[in-house]
């Protein structure tokens, strides 16, 4: 049974308090309501949505930044002729997001390492 439902344009995130079997049956049924609306679903205790990963760790919510597997860790190279504040902003925004999205310190540290490597990779 659905306990919450959120939609961002064509992406939906919902929570289900019932059996997985029932959820699958329900989703398959939803796919028949409208011939133009077809959905591809994922079910689990840890899923990415938009730019974050949401995990249900035994009843506790854990979150972290999501990096799409197909996305390269690419930002504007440091040697590029952009105004200096652009580079400062990149560092600021990625760190701010890491702080905002990481639900605990070890998760934050992992993301911090990722950011460091990414920045070094881009000069």
């Amino acid at each position: 049974m659905i306990s919450s439902f959120y939609r961002y344009i064509d992406d939906v995130f919902l929570t289900w308090n019932g059996s997985e079997k029932d959820l699958i049956a329900f989703l398959n049924q939803a796919n028949t309501w409208d011939p133009y609306i077809k959905l591809d679903y994922k079910i689990g205790k840890s899923l990415p949505f938009l730019d974050a990963i949401f995990t249900n760790a035994r009843g506790r919510l854990e979150t972290s930044v999501y990096h799409k597997p197909t996305a390269q860790p690419y930002v504007i190279p440091f040697i590029s002729d952009h105004p200096r504040h652009v580079f400062r902003n990149i560092i600021q925004t990625t760190l701010r997001r890491a702080v905002r999205y990481s639900s605990n310190f070890p998760i934050f540290q992992t993301e911090q390492r990722y950011i460091k490597l990414m920045l070094l990779y881009n000069g």
Binding site: M1, S3, S4, V12, F13, L14, K42, K45, L61, R100
Partner: protein, 175 residues
């Protein structure tokens, strides 16, 4: 030329959608995090709770044009609007039809008309897609209701908050 009409429609209809449907709409990851955190604080996140995400395939280009226009009218009427900026709904529908259906382009040596979906470059397409989804979402409510379970639960927990046929109900249950 139709761009101005599209912008006009979007300018006036998008705020209506934003106002009426904000409770099940997510604007970014942070907002969802806050909502789920709230949900957990209230003891609603059980170890057995499943997360589920799904993506609608090619929403913008799959929107059925006539049905989308019908849904736009249903949406406005449902929320009590009989006119927008002194323009009556019939005319609004005609304007929207102009933007949505009279989409013609040239490719190679042929002229094509778009018969399914909305223009990807139009801001109005987004609003129309959102409104079409509003209608589709209601089925989730109806299907859950007919299975009986969630209705009983909501009566037990927050009988005052049960609002049938409104997409507020799913969040209201746990507020």
């Amino acid at each position: 030329m139709t761009k101005n009409i599209a912008d006009f429609l979007d300018q006036h209809i998008r705020p209506i959608f934003d106002r009426e449907c904000h409770s099940t709409i997510v604007i970014d990851g942070t907002q969802l995090m806050d909502e789920l955190d709230n949900y957990m604080q209230r003891g609603r996140l059980l170890p057995s709770t499943f997360f589920c995400t799904f993506d609608i395939r090619n929403l913008y280009t799959m929107l059925p044009q006539k049905e989308a226009l019908d849904t736009l009218m249903t949406f406005l009427q449902f929320h009590g609007y009989k006119q927008i900026e002194k323009i009556n709904l019939t005319t609004i529908r005609q304007l929207a039809a102009l933007v949505l259906q009279e989409n013609v382009f040239v490719y190679g040596k042929k002229i094509y008309q778009q018969i399914l979906g909305g223009a990807m470059g139009s801001s109005f397409t987004l609003t129309l897609a959102n409104i079409y989804m509003w209608q589709w979402q209601k089925r989730w409510v109806q299907q859950q209701q007919s299975s009986g379970e969630i209705f009983r639960r909501s009566v037990l927990l927050h009988p005052r908050s049960w609002i049938y046929e409104d997409d507020l109900f799913l969040l209201q249950i746990y507020r």
